[in-house]
């Protein structure tokens, strides 16, 4: 991982114009200079120059970033603040050691059996400890576990992770192209049905999906927590797991995993390069195979449902914004509507929402209001993280819209 010092030039490219104030979701919610990119960059510079050390206030301000990248998109010099903040968090960890929470994240994510166990335990614990709230989707419950805010509603962890399930496929393993599915924790533990949808859709397209049991977390939560060593460990483990198989593509169905594989791994070394070049989000992949054409040829349903789309930051930053809209518009059971500020971060931001649940709620509330104003009954997206946050925000505001992964809607439409 790059050290903070390696970002010195980038920090100098920040001209302190303040354009980032117009887009930063955290700044808009909190209205404090410490929340915005130019403030954090100035703090990073002061750290490098030895003018401030990792005092509590600094740690707090550095934690006030969703790593969503929206400032970079607007910045006249395209300064990658999310990378600088992640590097500054690692620098704080170097100076002070990881926070208790960061240690917990790193330990848990790098320990695969613990993750598997947690998933079972989570279900058990939820039955014992959490209060189920009446709702429309059936996925939410109160989750009073240390580190997770008491009020947050949370999907019920799956009793059987996706990768432990017996997935039947209708296509021969020798079919081409050869596709590996990088599942990620969100799909493996919280939303295994998304994984099942992906397999069904690709089988429908004549593609066999190789499931890689040895893979683990992509490392993005560890990056967000400032746990640089954990990111390396996780990336190495995934590299090893994926290398075993021959493949033409590595597919993701989680924007965050895609962000890690295509955005972070290239910075870790040349070993990752072949793997990075073949990483595609599943939507991108099915677009190339003309799924839109095949969906459009299906008879339009009489009874259509209004659906809008939320852009996960990690796909938006990668320029992947048109494919999901084209797919949704082609679905026979869907009337697609665009909502206001669809490309604004949902407010989850990895470990951000754990440290700053209130701010995260404010940002999420905005999003929920935009969903409500669009009149959509379903908000589709392409990232399990966003799904958790969006559903929580809608529930809190009592907005009767449901969150779905785009693949679920596609799967529903297949003959």
């Amino acid at each position: 991982m790059k050290a903070l010092e390696q970002y010195r030039q980038w920090c100098q490219a920040c001209v302190k114009c303040g354009a980032c104030r117009a887009t930063c979701p955290v700044f808009k919610a909190e209205n404090q200079e410490g929340g915005v990119a130019r403030g954090k960059i100035t703090l990073a510079q002061a750290m490098m120059d030895g003018q401030i050390f990792a005092e509590d206030r600094l740690v707090h301000d550095l934690s006030q970033c969703l790593l969503c990248g929206s400032c970079t998109n607007l910045c006249p010099n395209q300064v990658p603040t999310h990378e600088i903040v992640a590097a500054a968090r690692r620098e704080v960890a170097n100076q002070k050691g990881l926070s208790g929470f960061g240690q917990g994240v790193a330990a848990l994510l790098t320990h695969k059996t613990a993750m598997d166990w947690m998933s079972k335990g989570g279900d058990l614990a939820s039955r014992l400890l959490c209060r189920q709230i009446p709702d429309t989707s059936g996925l939410k419950l109160r989750f009073p576990v240390p580190g997770i805010p008491r009020e947050r509603t949370f999907p019920k962890p799956s009793f059987k992770p996706f990768l432990k399930r017996d997935i039947r496929q209708t296509v021969s393993p020798s079919a081409s192209p050869r596709v590996l599915f990088f599942t990620g924790c969100g799909i493996n533990y919280l939303y295994p049905e998304i994984g099942e949808c992906l397999v069904r859709i690709l089988n429908f397209m004549g593609v066999y999906v190789t499931l890689v049991d040895e893979q683990g977390c992509c490392g993005l939560p560890a990056l967000s927590a400032g746990a640089g060593d954990a990111v390396d460990t996780l990336a190495q483990r995934n590299l090893k797991a994926l290398k075993i198989h021959a493949f033409d593509y590595v597919l993701t169905a989680c924007a965050s995993c895609h962000g890690a594989l295509a955005g972070i791994y290239p910075t870790l070394g040349a070993d990752y390069q072949p793997f990075v070049e073949k990483t595609r989000d599943v939507m991108d992949f099915v677009m190339d195979m003309d799924l839109v054409g095949r969906l459009a040829s299906l008879p339009r349903s009489e009874d259509r449902i209004k659906v809008t789309y939320h852009d996960p930051c990690h796909l938006r930053n990668h320029g992947l914004t048109q494919a999901p809209r084209q797919l949704l518009s082609a679905l026979p059971q869907v009337d697609y509507v665009e909502m206001a500020d669809a490309a604004t971060c949902c407010g989850l931001g990895g470990t951000f929402s754990v440290h700053h649940y209130e701010t995260s709620q404010k940002i999420g509330d905005q999003k929920a209001n935009h969903v409500a104003q669009s009149g959509a009954k379903i908000v589709a997206t392409a990232c399990p993280g966003c799904m958790i946050q969006l559903q929580d925000s809608l529930n809190r505001q009592n907005i009767p819209a449901r969150v779905a992964h785009l693949l679920e809607l596609v799967c529903q439409a297949l003959p």
């Binding site: 001209v15 303040g18 104030r21 003018q51 005092e55 010099n77």
Partner: protein, 469 residues
């Protein structure tokens, strides 16, 4: 240094959450868009005018310098705490208090973001024209203090033309109101205009009364490319002489176009030496006619191409070119000395020639673009930061630029203000009597020089202290 007792009092006034002496917060309020840094001793965020008044009384009593701060986007250091002391952030005072649709007047707090305010009035079919480039983030308080301008000023005037009343807190802590909500009013001195553009040195603005206009029904944008700068400059005068005042009349010189071509992949006809972006607004049926009249009067001035936007998207394509200038200049990797001189419109062609001469004389590229319609040019003198001679020459070029501007009856700054950046040159433009008059005023209102000290006037007491790096 500020005593613990004063800090305690500040905490009582603002709430302890909104007073900080932590190094992190002091660093966060040490800079603005000049990229210079000065550490304050304390940062406070008052909630209302009463708190501002109590803070000023306290600061006056203890002789603590106070620097009001809006969004910190100024180009001349207006918000920089150059003598240490207290930064007073106005961001909590960010409510739109009233939009009166019958009287076309709005009342706002200083921390309201300019663009948010514009959106709010436009939703009601009203219009607040001043449009500084930073409008999406700049505060109205900062706009008033610096008397911000923008492209639309050629037709609609600058910030002070819309401020009809203020509530301010004086350097000694008194709250006073100036002007009011009426369109006319001549009772007493016009203190409203005095405070507009006073760069936060005479009073802290706590409430602003703004005049509004009905929103123009439509607008039409076009891009005209000329073979040489002279033609473009003459076109500006020709359009005005034709008694047409476009809503915006922006220009880009040949170097700007080169730069856009190199770094932003802009397609331009062969031999393009300058371009104008012209936008007219008003009732829909008049716009095409105006465009035709403009095209007719500039036809013979070396027009290579004109592109009239017929849709919103086409208009955005044209504005994208204008917005790409700053980023593409930055890609050249040179330090830019960004000045915003203003000359009478008719002197624009001559001014451009003089700038070219300065560029040749100091052997430094100078890129010009800006609000040609009101004679306000953004002159960017480019120098290699690593080259000491170039950097020194750039300083000389800046002074030569100011002298040339003044010789043509212009001013050193159309929009950005003096602050600390232009203070050394003040006596080039103002007579010693004028400066003395201003300083007498300042001394009478702020006897201990605690409100935004170190700004505007060059020989103002001690040299600046507390600069970082």
């Amino acid at each position: 240094m500020i005593s613990e007792k004063v800090i305690q009092e500040l905490k009582e006034i603002c709430g302890s959450k909104f007073v900080s002496c932590e190094k992190t917060d002091r660093v966060l309020y040490s800079y603005d868009a000049t990229r210079k840094q000065f550490l304050p001793d304390v940062v406070v965020h008052p909630a209302d005018a009463r708190a501002v008044s109590r803070i000023m009384t306290l600061a006056h009593h203890h002789r603590i310098p106070v620097y009001p701060r809006g969004s910190g986007t100024g180009f001349t250091g207006g918000a920089l705490p150059v003598h240490g002391g207290m930064v007073m952030g106005m961001s909590r005072m960010n409510r739109i208090l009233d939009i009166d649709q019958e009287n076309l007047v709005a009342v706002v707090e200083p921390g309201v973001v300019t663009g948010d305010f514009q959106k709010a009035v436009e939703a009601l079919g009203l219009f607040y024209p001043p449009d500084p480039a930073s409008l999406k983030v700049s505060s109205l308080g900062g706009n008033v203090a610096e008397c911000a301008g923008g492209p639309r000023c050629v037709k609609y005037g600058v910030t002070k033309d819309y401020v009809i009343g203020l509530e301010v807190v004086t350097p000694t802590g008194d709250r006073i109101e100036t002007g009011g909500t009426t369109m006319k009013g001549v009772v007493g001195y016009d203190l409203t205009k005095l405070f507009c553009g006073s760069e936060g040195t005479l009073a802290v603005i706590t409430k602003i009364i703004l005049k509004l206009l009905p929103k123009p029904q439509a607008k039409k944008t076009m891009l005209v490319v000329f073979d040489a700068i002279d033609g473009a400059a003459k076109a500006v005068s020709a359009i005005i002489r034709e008694k047409i005042i476009p809503a915006t009349l922006e220009f880009m010189d040949g170097r700007t176009l080169d730069c856009l071509r190199q770094t932003a992949g802009l397609a331009m006809p062969e031999g393009a030496g300058a371009a104008l972006i012209i936008e007219v607004d008003g009732d829909r049926e008049f716009l095409d006619k105006q465009i035709q009249r403009i095209l007719a009067v500039i036809e013979s001035l070396g027009v290579l191409e004109n592109r009239v936007a017929n849709t919103f998207e086409e208009s955005e394509e044209i504005w994208k070119i204008r917005r790409a200038i700053s980023p593409s200049l930055k890609k050249l990797g040179l330090e830019k000395f960004n000045e915003d001189i203003c000359v009478p419109r008719s002197k624009l062609p001559e001014m451009i020639r003089r700038i070219e001469k300065i560029s040749d004389q100091y052997n430094l590229p100078i890129v010009n673009f800006g609000h040609a319609g009101d004679g306000n040019i953004h002159v960017n003198i480019m120098a290699d930061k690593a080259d000491a001679k170039q950097m020194a020459d750039a300083e000389y070029a800046v002074e030569a630029l100011f002298r040339a501007t003044l010789a043509l009856g212009g001013t050193m700054s159309g929009e950005h203000g003096v602050g600390i950046m232009k203070a050394p040159y003040l006596s080039l433009e103002l007579s010693s009597q004028s400066i003395l008059y201003m300083k007498t005023l300042k001394k009478a209102l702020d006897p201990h020089n605690i409100l935004n000290p170190g700004k505007i006037f060059p020989d103002d007491d001690a040299p600046l202290s507390g600069e970082m790096k």
